[in-house]
Symmetry: C2
Subunit: 309 residues, 2 copies
C-alpha cells in the first residue's frame, strides 16, 4: 500500500476583473514561465478547500472569497518524465485594484478567447487555416476532427460559445499549435514546429490547461448563476457590470436585453446615488441583492451571453 501513496497538489485559478480586464493570479512573473499558485496537500489541512486557501494566502497574501472545485488531473501523458502528481484544481473569485503585481490578463495567455471585437481578424483566419490543415487525415479521422473544430471554434454553421474555451485549447494542443504540445504530435513534426504566431503566453507544466478549465467553468456558470457579483465592488453601475460580463465571456452582449434581464430578475437594487466617472450621462449606482442567493439558488438567475454568428 505504501507504494501507492501519491503526492497531492492543490492548484488555484484565482480570477479578478479590475477595470474590466479579466486577470489570473500567477507566480514567477514577470520573468520566467508564469505558474498558478499551488502547493502540496498537507497532513494538517482539514479539507482540500482549507488547504488551498492556506496556500494561496501564504503565497500571495491574498484572502479568498468564493471558491469551487474544478477538476482533478493525474494523467502522466502530459508530463511523462516526472513522477505522477495528483493535482486538485480550484476556481476562486476575488476583487482587486488594477495594477497589483502578480496578476496577468488572461487574454495574453489565450489571445483567441477574446472575441469582443469580433473574430474576423487575422488571428481567426490563421487559426482556421492551420486547424483545417491538421484535420487532413484518413477519412473517418478527418471528419471527426473537422466536426470538433467547427463546434469548438464556431466555424461552419456552429456558433462560437464562450464556454468551449477548454475544447479550443485542447484542439490547439492536439494540433501542435501551442508551445506545450506533445512531442511528436503532428505527422513527423517536433513540438513548436507549427506553432501559431499568436500562440499566447505559455505556463508551467499543464497550468495553461488548468486555467482553460477554470475559464470554461466560469463562463458556463455566468449563464445560470449570479457569480459575476463575486467579482464586482459593493456598488457599481450597470455599464460596469456589463463590461465585466463581456470581459469574462469574451463577447459583447446586447445592452438593453442585459439591463432588462438584470433588473427583472431583481439581481440588483439602486443605491440612489449616481456617478459621472464614465463620461456621458451619469449612471445610477446599484448594489447586488445578496438575498437572492438564498431565494432562488435553483431558479434562472442567468445573464445573457448570446452566441455570436
Amino acid at each position: 500500500m505504501v507504494a501507492d501513496l501519491q503526492a497531492v497538489e492543490l492548484v488555484a485559478v484565482i480570477v479578478a476583473v479590475p477595470g474590466g480586464v479579466p486577470q489570473v493570479l500567477t507566480l514567477g512573473a514577470p520573468i520566467g514561465v508564469p505558474a498558478l499558485p499551488a502547493g502540496p496537500l498537507e497532513a494538517d489541512h482539514r479539507s482540500l478547500q482549507y488547504g488551498l486557501r492556506t496556500w494561496v494566502e501564504r503565497q500571495t497574501g491574498h484572502p479568498l472569497g468564493y471558491v469551487e472545485q474544478l477538476y482533478t488531473f493525474a494523467d502522466r501523458e502530459r508530463a511523462p518524465a516526472r513522477e505522477r502528481v495528483v493535482s486538485v484544481s480550484y476556481l476562486g473569485l476575488t476583487r482587486v485594484e488594477a495594477g497589483e503585481p502578480g496578476w496577468r490578463d488572461w487574454y495574453q495567455i489565450f489571445p483567441w478567447e477574446d472575441c469582443r471585437d469580433g473574430r474576423s481578424d487575422s488571428l481567426y483566419a490563421d487559426l482556421r487555416a492551420r486547424l483545417g490543415a491538421w484535420a487532413q487525415a484518413s477519412a473517418p479521422v478527418a471528419a471527426r476532427r473537422q466536426a470538433r473544430i467547427d463546434v469548438a471554434f464556431g466555424f461552419g454553421d456552429a456558433a462560437w460559445a464562450p464556454e468551449n474555451c477548454l475544447q479550443r485549447y485542447e484542439l490547439l494542443w492536439e494540433a501542435g499549435l501551442v508551445p506545450e504540445a506533445p512531442v511528436g504530435a503532428g505527422p513527423g513534426a517536433g513540438p513548436g514546429e507549427h506553432e501559431l504566431p499568436a500562440a499566447g503566453q505559455r505556463m508551467l507544466g499543464d497550468h495553461r490547461r488548468i486555467l482553460a478549465t477554470g475559464i470554461a467553468r466560469l463562463r458556463a456558470k455566468l449563464q445560470y448563476r449570479p457569480v459575476v457579483f463575486e467579482l464586482m465592488p459593493d456598488t457599481f453601475t450597470l455599464g460596469t457590470l456589463q463590461l465585466t460580463v463581456e470581459a469574462l465571456a469574451g463577447t459583447r452582449v446586447h445592452k438593453q436585453n442585459f439591463r432588462r434581464l438584470v433588473e427583472q430578475q431583481h439581481l440588483v437594487e439602486p443605491t440612489g446615488a449616481t456617478t459621472a466617472v464614465t463620461g456621458g450621462r451619469p449612471a445610477k449606482v446599484y448594489r447586488f441583492r445578496r438575498e437572492i442567493l438564498a431565494e432562488r439558488q435553483a431558479a434562472g438567475t442567468k445573464l445573457p451571453v448570446p452566441r455570436s454568428r
Copy 2:
C-alpha cells in the same frame, strides 16, 4: 515531502436503468453495508480514468462505457477517526439486463428522491415537519436554514428540482435525519436520535454522499446533453425512453412535449420496425443518432425535465 504523501482512492458511481429502474452497482450486498466499487490509484495506472476502469472491471467483471469525473473528496470531518484518504469519484453509465446481482435500486437508498407519484405522501409531510423542527434556531441561522430547505425540497413557492439531490441529502445529514449523521449533530442529540423512519439504505463511509453527487450530476446533465442514450439499448421505443428519463429524474414529464423535443432535435431516427410488447398500440422502434454527438456538442440537445409545482 514524504510525510505529505496521500492514499488516493478511485470511487465509481456506475448507473444502469434496466426495465425503467435506476440502479447503482454496489459491492458487499446483499448482506452488510453496501459500498461503491473503489480501489487505490496505482503507480502503473496511466490516468485516473484508466485506473477506475481497471478497478471496476476487476471487481465487477463489468466493462464501462461513458465515464466522467465527479468530484474529489478529502474532508476529514466525515470520518475523523481514520487517516485521510483522497477520493476521486467518477460517474459511469452502462446497459445491463434486469436482475443481475450487485445492482441496487437507487430509490432504496434515497426514498425521498422518487417523486414520480407526486410528493404529497406521508414521507414528504414527515420530512417537512422534521426539517422544520431542525430549522428552529436563533434568528439569522433559522432563516438561512429554512431558505435552504425550501429551495432544496421545493417547499413554499420554490419548485422541486431533480438536480438538487445532493443539497437534499446534505440538509438531511446536517439535520441528523439520516443514519450517517455526524456525532453531536443536533442540539444535544446523538446520531440516529431523530432518524427518519424512511431514512433509506445507508452505505459505507461517505459513499452515500458520493452517490448523491452522482445522481445530482446525472440529473443536471440530462437537461442539456443527450446522456440518456448511454443507458438505452440500441433500439427502443419513445415510451421506454421517456420511462428511463422519468426514472432518472424522479419526476414525470409531459408526454407530447417529450416526444416533440426528442424528434425536432433529431436525436433519434426510426428503424422502421414496430413492437407490441408494451400492450396497447404497437410502438415505433427508434435508434439513437450517434452523429449528433459530433454535430451539436454545444447546442441545445436537452430533454424536458419540468419542475413540478
